[in-house]
Amino acid sequence: MTELLQHIVNTLILGSTYALLGIGLTLIFGIMRVVNFAHGELYSFGAYALYFVGVMLGLNFFLALIVAVVLGCFAGALIEVVLLRPMRGADIDTTMLVMIGAMIVMQNGEQFVWGGVAKSVSTPFPELPLVIGSISVSWLRLFVFCAALALIGVSYLLINRTKLGKAMRATFQDRDAASLMGVNIQFIYMATFAIGSSLAAAAGALLGPVYVISPQMGNLASLKAFAIVILGGLGSIGGATIGGFLLALAEELGAGYVSSGYRDAMGFLIIIVVLLFKPTGLFARAERIG
């Protein structure tokens, strides 16, 4: 029983960051129809940005987190303008190949700049974990959970309560009609990619100190983000949030009770099963956003 409770606590913490990854990707995939293979690289970009600002420049940990998210936002906007804007109107396979190229360049660029040795970031949180009954959880993980929940809330409000969010939802439903109503589509696409990227960077910056930072950390992140998006249904923030927690639960239980070697296989098995039996995702009635 204790073991199960501990698994559930771990699930909540891991799931909150998975949700961030998934929300970022579901916005990009839903609105822009771009299969963003570089999503995982923006995740590791966030982690390296935290390392650079927080450890090498010696800035305060919390400030460094904010800087990392802002840098992720700029990196996303840059990728959109340089690589995706000229590809507007190209079919989905072609943009996918461009994003795979970007993924290869970014990952090997990280390897080149930072080397293959994993980096670790120290945090201002106490070493001793918080113990409640028989469950223990470190303060850092608790902070990661709260920060991720706050960011999920912010992105929900951004999409549902602001003018930009309204324009994004309109673009998702019908790009041409939105354009006719005076929505600047080019700007919406750039904003979407930048927001999605900054959420991925936030997930990386939050998880970086929990584990270690290495050039390979983004490898599985893209595919896991796809698993989450497929679970939750395209374009649904609520779906991506639940999908993130479900994937984390499947991984935790799979690693705990089946075999830790197959932890990462859970996400892929979920993708295969969901797509074969309910291709619209578990929670989407139809394709929608919000």
Binding site: I92, D93, I104, I271, P279
Partner: protein, 344 residues
């Protein structure tokens, strides 16, 4: 003149071991040839049916592991205490069984995953490859996991009246790969220029129209997947018996990416495309190794991939064909269709 190009190319490549004695370059030719066979099989799916499978390396790896295990033998205990013992078989049976098992997996994956299209198809195929990779990594009893399968015997062929042929030397392996490449080329050519191939191209161009004229889409897609996976499995088997060692890294996503770049840069949906693209991308590491570390090589790879998609989205072979075509056909946007008309 154009008809002669394949024969001239074959003659040139057949003469390579006669004048090239540098073992490093010969090795590069052999591994490039194996990857070209794999890229040709991917082209059947990507170029002719229009389905981007990013899990293609799974069939390559399944062919490699099956072929190696058949020729090495294994002893595993399945769930429920059932013990399966397999004594080593001759290597050529490994090649045949590896090809067949890969084709069977192609059938199963095709049957299941062609229910979805576009981005979802891509994700399902990648997921399949990742699951297979994790099985190869974790089923240590069968695959040795990260320790790799070692001392895989080289290919042997029993020829009636001659005796046994062993493929130990680089020269003999070169001719073996060339022979498999030629056979795969002919199989794909026969398939593409047949009724089946026309059905595949029809459904790539306009799936709903193809359905409306009575083409059984799923059947032809699965057929393409079976052939494609089988040829990829044969390439994997060659790879295993040439290198004599394989580990779960044969399932790496980057191998699929390499195959995709070869097909796209050469020209998808053309028979020569994967060969031209394969030679270019197979020899970039050879040319770059003197001045670039592996990271820089990969960065170059990625940049080239982006540039090719931007500049030559149809690939090199269609661009060259267009250049040599008569002015009257130069405006034809699809050289492939022009070619289709003059074949019986």
């Amino acid at each position: 003149m154009k008809r002669l190009v394949p024969y001239i190319a074959l003659a040139v490549f057949a003469s390579v071991p006669l004048w090239l004695h540098d073992p490093y370059l010969l090795n590069a030719f052999i591994t490039t040839g194996i990857l070209i066979v794999a890229a040709m099989s991917l082209n059947l799916l990507l170029g002719y049916t229009g389905q981007l499978s990013l899990g293609h390396v799974a069939f390559f790896g399944i062919g490699a592991y099956t072929s190696a295990l058949v020729s090495l033998g294994f002893d595993v205990e399945l769930i429920g205490g059932i013990r399966v013992v397999h004594e080593p078989w001759p290597v050529w049976t490994g090649f045949v069984i590896g090809t067949l098992v890969a084709a069977l997996c192609g059938y199963a994956v095709g049957k299941l995953s062609f229910k979805v299209r576009g981005a979802y198809f891509v994700i399902v195929t990648i997921s399949f490859a990742e699951v297979v990779r994790l099985v190869a990594l974790n089923w240590v009893e069968l695959t040795q996991g990260p320790l790799a399968l070692t001392s895989i015997p080289p290919m042997t062929l029993g020829v009636p009246g001659v005796g046994y042929l062993d493929f130990y030397s680089k020269q003999s392996n070169y001719y073996l790969v060339l022979a498999v490449l030629v056979v795969s080329y002919i199989v794909i050519q026969r398939l593409v220029y047949s009724r089946v191939g026309r059905a595949m191209i029809a459904l790539k161009e306009n799936e709903s129209l193809a359905v409306s004229v009575g083409i059984d889409v799923t059947r032809y897609l699965v057929l393409a997947a079976v052939f494609s996976a089988g040829i990829a499995g044969a390439a994997g088997s060659l790879y295993a018996h040439y290198l004599k060692i394989i580990d779960p890294d044969v399932f790496a996503f980057l191998y699929t990416v390499t195959m995709v770049i070869m097909v796209i840069s050469g020209g998808k949906g053309t028979l020569a495309g994967p060969i031209v693209g394969g030679l270019i991308f197979g020899f970039i590491p050879v040319a770059a190794r003197s001045f670039a570390t592996p990271e820089i090589q990969w960065i170059l790879y990625g940049l080239l991939m982006i540039i090719i998609v931007f500049v030559l989205p149809k690939g090199i072979v269609p661009a060259v064909e267009k250049w040599f075509a008569a002015p009257s056909t130069r405006a034809d946007p699809e050289p492939l269709q022009a070619k289709m008309h003059d074949t019986p």
